[in-house]
C-alpha cells in the first residue's frame, strides 16, 4: 500500500482510472486551433513554394520561360511536349540517366543498408576486438568533408581501373556511417538480449540468429535507413561529378547539371531551361512516390529509433 502511494504521482496506474472530464480533454481530443494551423501553414507554404514554381514552369516552353513571370503560367501549356523532349533530347540520354540512377540507388541503398544492419547489430549485441575504435572512426568519418576524400579516391580508383565505370559511384555508396549509427542505436533498443540467448542455448549459429530473429525486428530501422540512403544516393552529386566522364553512366543529377551548364556557359551551348526544369520535376517524382508509399514504415522507424533520455 505504501509503495503504491509513494509512486502514485508518476507511475503508470495499473488500474487506469477514467480521467476526470475536461481536465484531460486536451490530451485525448484537444481543440483544433486555427491560429496554430495558420502559423504552421505559413511554414508549409515556404516548403511548397519552390515545388509549385517547379510544376508551373515545367509547363512552359523555353520562349515562355524567358518572357513570363515566375509563378504564372505561360501562353502555351507545354508539359507534355517538354516531357517528350526531355526523353528524346541528345538521343534519349535521359532514359539512360534514369536507368543509371535506379541501378545506383537499388544496389547502393540495398547493400549499404544491409552492411549497416550487420555492423550496427554487431556493435549493439556483440563484443569484439577494436569495437570502440571502429565506432569512433566510423562516426568521425561523417565529419570529414567529401572534398578531402574526392581526389584521393579518384586517384586510388584510377589505379584500380574503375574510374568512369559505375563501380566508382557504387563502391563509395556501400558505406553509410550514419546508417550504421542508426542501426546500432535501434538494435540496442529493439532486440532483446533474452531472445538471442534463448536461441543460442538452442544451438543456433550467430548468423542464423541475426537473419531469423534480429533482422525482422529491425524492420522499421531498416526501412528508414534504406529510404534515407535512397534519397542520399539519388541526389548524389559531387562524387559522380568527379568520377564519371562518360555521359552514359551519369546519374540524373549530373545530367541535369550538364544540361543547365550548356546555356549558362559562354559559347553556343543550347539554352534548354524548360528541359532542365521539366527533368528536375521528373527526377523528384520517384522520390516523392517512395516517401508517400513507405510513410508508415519510416515514421515508426524514426519513432523507435529516437534517442530517449
Amino acid at each position: 500500500m505504501s509503495s503504491t502511494s509513494s509512486r502514485a504521482r508518476v507511475a503508470p496506474l495499473r488500474t487506469p482510472r477514467r480521467p476526470e472530464g475536461k481536465k484531460l480533454h486536451f490530451l485525448s481530443s484537444p481543440k483544433k486551433s486555427p491560429v496554430l494551423t495558420l502559423v504552421t501553414g505559413l511554414f508549409v507554404v515556404y516548403c511548397l513554394l519552390p515545388l509549385i514554381w517547379l510544376v508551373i514552369n515545367s509547363t512552359k516552353t523555353q520562349a515562355d520561360f524567358v518572357s513570363t513571370f515566375g509563378l504564372a503560367f505561360g501562353d502555351h501549356f507545354a508539359l507534355w511536349d517538354n516531357i517528350v523532349e526531355v526523353f528524346t533530347f541528345q538521343g534519349g540520354i535521359f532514359s539512360r540517366w534514369l536507368l543509371n540512377t535506379v541501378i545506383y540507388v537499388v544496389l547502393g541503398a540495398g547493400i549499404s543498408t544491409f552492411l549497416a544492419a550487420l555492423g550496427g547489430y554487431a556493435l549493439a549485441k556483440h563484443d569484439f576486438v577494436g569495437k570502440r575504435v571502429f565506432l569512433l572512426t566510423v562516426l568521425g568519418s561523417i565529419s570529414v568533408p567529401g572534398i578531402a576524400l574526392a581526389i584521393p579516391q579518384f586517384l586510388l580508383f584510377a589505379q584500380l581501373g574503375i574510374t568512369n565505370t559505375p563501380w566508382a559511384v557504387l563502391i563509395p555508396s556501400f558505406i553509410n556511417p550514419f546508417g550504421l549509427f542508426l542501426m546500432w542505436v535501434f538494435s540496442a533498443q529493439a532486440v532483446p538480449d533474452g531472445l538471442l540467448e534463448a536461441a543460442r542455448i538452442d544451438g543456433a549459429g550467430e548468423f542464423r540468429i541475426f537473419f531469423t530473429i534480429a533482422f525482422p525486428l529491425l524492420a522499421p530501422a531498416t526501412v528508414t535507413v534504406l529510404l534515407f540512403s535512397f534519397v542520399s544516393i539519388w541526389n548524389n552529386y559531387f562524387l559522380p561529378l568527379i568520377m564519371l566522364k562518360d555521359p552514359n553512366w551519369y546519374p540524373l543529377t549530373i545530367g541535369i547539371n550538364q544540361w543547365n551548364m550548356l546555356g549558362s556557359t559562354a559559347g553556343n551551348g543550347a539554352l534548354i531551361q524548360n528541359l532542365v526544369i521539366t527533368s528536375s520535376l521528373l527526377t523528384i517524382v520517384p522520390l516523392v512516390i517512395a516517401f508517400l508509399s513507405l510513410q508508415r514504415y519510416w515514421q515508426s522507424g524514426l519513432a523507435l529509433g529516437a534517442i530517449k533520455d
Binding site: 581526389i151 555521359p247 550538364q258 556557359t265 559559347g267 553556343n268
Partner: protein, 438 residues
C-alpha cells in the same frame, strides 16, 4: 588480305613521295599513317554539338574506326576532367576541345601532342591569322581551330530607333553618345551590361592594340599600362562612372536572357557565335537584332578582336594519335567541316568557308534578313594579331572574378586598380607555380 595491306601501304608510301615532291597544298593526310585494318575507337571530348555531325562521313571513310563523341563537361569542367585523367593515367580522350585561352595551360607542360609531326603546320594559310596564332606556340601548332568568335556588336535596331539613333556606332565616341541616348529612355535601359566580364574587357583591350600578356616559354610578363590597354580601360571606366553600363547583370544568367528579350539591354559586344543562341534567349526580339562590326578607335579603322572560340587538340597521352589526327583534320579542315557549318551552324575560321559566297549570303528571319555572315567573316579576317594568353588563365579568370566583382558591385575603386591587383595576384601565383612572372 596481306596482299591488300601491302598494296595499301605501298599506295600511301607512293602518295607521300609524290606529294612531298610537289609543294602544292592538298588535303590528304600527308605523313600520317592511319591504321586501317584493326578496329579502333576514338574518344572525342566536346561540348560543341556540331562535331557529331561529322562522324558518319568519317566512319564511312575509315570503316574500322568508331568515333565516340562525349560531352565531358563544358569549359572548365572538362579541363578539370582532363587534368584528372592525365594525372591518373587513364581515361584520357583522343581529342579534346579547348577554348583558345586554355591551350597554353595544357600545351606548355607538354600535355598536348605537337601536331606538326602530322603535317599540321602546312595548314596555317587555311585559317584566319588570329585563329592560327591562337593554336601555335613557338611556331608549332598544338591544336586545330574548330570554331571562332570574332568580337562583333549585336544591336537591337528597334531600341536604337526608339532612342533616336539612326545607325550603329562606328567608333567608340559614337558608342558613348549612343549609350547616353539609350540611358535617357529611362527605367532599366542600358546600351549594354557588364559585370566583371573578363572576356569583354580583354576583347576591348585587344582591339585597342593592347597586348598585356607576353609569354616566352615559362617567362610571363603582365602589363596593363601599355597604350592600347590603357585607352580601352579608361574608356570603359568612363562608361561605368556615368552609369551608362548595367553593372548588375552578368552574361549567361536568366536576368541577362530577359534583358536581351525585353530590349533593356540594347547591344552585346561579344563573339559572333551568339547568332546560334540569341534566338532562344531573346525570342520576343525576333527581327530586331542586327550585327555590326565592333566600334573602332578612329573613323575608318578596321581592327577586330576575339571573344571566345575553340580548338581541338590531341592529348599527348592518347594512344591513337594518328587516327585522332585524321579525324581532327576531317572535321576542322576537310569534308567534315562543311557538314558542321551547314548542318550545325558552326562558325569557323577557315578561309574556305569565310570566303564561300553561299555562306556569306546566309540569312535568317531573326536578324531581319541581314546577311550577318558577311559582317562576321570580315570581323574574323581583321582580328589583330599578336595576342597571347598566360599559361594559367583558368586560375587567373577565377581570381579576376574575386577581384573585380566588389568593384562592379560597389563602384569603389577603379578598373585600372582591379587590373593592378589582378596582376599582383597573378604574379604571385605564377611564380609560386614555377613560372617566372613579372
Amino acid at each position: 588480305m596481306r596482299k591488300k595491306r601491302i598494296g595499301a601501304a605501298a599506295a600511301i608510301l607512293a602518295s607521300v613521295v609524290i606529294l612531298s615532291a610537289c609543294s602544292a597544298p592538298d588535303s590528304s593526310n600527308e605523313g600520317v599513317v592511319v591504321p586501317t585494318d584493326s578496329p579502333l575507337t576514338l574518344t572525342v571530348w566536346s561540348w560543341d554539338g556540331t562535331v557529331k555531325d561529322a562522324v558518319p562521313g568519317f566512319e564511312k571513310k575509315y570503316p574500322n574506326i568508331t568515333v565516340k563523341v562525349v560531352n565531358a563537361g563544358s569549359s572548365i569542367d572538362e579541363y578539370h576532367a582532363l587534368d584528372n585523367a592525365i594525372q591518373a593515367g587513364s581515361g584520357v580522350p583522343d581529342i579534346a576541345m579547348f577554348e583558345y585561352f586554355s591551350l597554353p595551360y595544357f600545351a606548355i607542360p607538354g600535355k598536348l601532342a605537337d601536331l606538326s609531326k602530322f603535317g599540321a603546320d602546312k595548314l596555317s594559310k587555311d585559317y584566319v591569322k588570329g585563329a592560327w596564332g591562337n593554336v601555335t606556340l613557338e611556331k608549332k601548332p598544338y591544336a586545330l581551330p574548330s570554331d571562332y568568335g570574332p568580337a562583333v556588336m549585336f544591336y537591337n535596331q528597334a531600341v536604337f530607333q526608339q532612342a533616336g539613333i539612326a545607325s550603329p556606332p562606328a567608333t567608340w565616341d559614337e558608342f558613348y553618345d549612343a549609350a547616353k541616348k539609350i540611358r535617357a529612355l529611362g527605367g532599366d535601359h542600358y546600351i549594354t551590361n557588364d559585370s566583371a566580364d573578363i572576356f569583354l574587357l580583354m576583347s576591348m583591350i585587344w582591339q585597342g592594340g593592347g597586348r598585356p600578356f607576353s609569354v616566352d616559354g615559362t617567362n610571363v610578363t603582365i602589363d596593363f599600362k601599355d597604350k592600347g590597354s590603357k585607352a580601352a580601360v579608361d574608356f570603359w571606366q568612363k562608361l561605368i562612372d556615368e552609369d551608362l553600363v548595367n553593372t548588375k547583370v552578368s552574361n549567361w544568367t536568366d536576368d541577362w536572357n530577359r534583358g536581351l528579350n525585353e530590349g533593356t539591354i540594347a547591344t552585346q559586344l561579344i563573339g559572333g557565335w551568339l547568332t546560334s543562341t540569341l534566338p532562344e534567349r531573346a525570342p520576343d526580339a525576333a527581327g530586331d537584332f542586327r550585327v555590326a562590326p565592333l566600334p573602332q578607335r578612329q573613323t575608318g579603322g578596321e581592327i577586330g578582336s576575339e571573344n571566345g572560340g575553340s580548338a581541338m587538340a590531341i592529348p599527348e597521352a592518347s594512344k591513337n594519335k594518328a587516327a585522332a589526327y585524321a579525324f581532327l583534320k576531317y572535321f576542322t579542315h576537310d569534308a567534315g567541316l562543311k557538314i558542321r557549318v551547314e548542318k550545325g551552324g558552326a562558325f569557323v575560321p577557315n578561309l574556305s568557308v569565310l570566303e564561300d559566297p553561299e555562306f556569306l549570303s546566309a540569312q535568317s528571319d531573326y536578324f531581319g534578313d541581314q546577311k550577318y555572315n558577311e559582317v562576321l567573316a570580315t570581323a574574323a579576317e581583321k582580328v589583330g594579331t599578336g595576342w597571347q594568353y598566360p599559361p594559367f588563365f583558368e586560375w587567373a579568370r577565377t581570381a579576376y572574378a574575386d577581384v573585380a566583382a566588389p568593384f562592379y558591385d560597389s563602384r569603389q575603386g577603379s578598373l585600372a586598380g582591379v587590373l593592378q591587383t589582378w596582376k599582383e595576384k597573378s604574379v604571385a601565383y605564377g611564380n609560386e607555380q614555377g613560372f617566372t612572372v613579372k
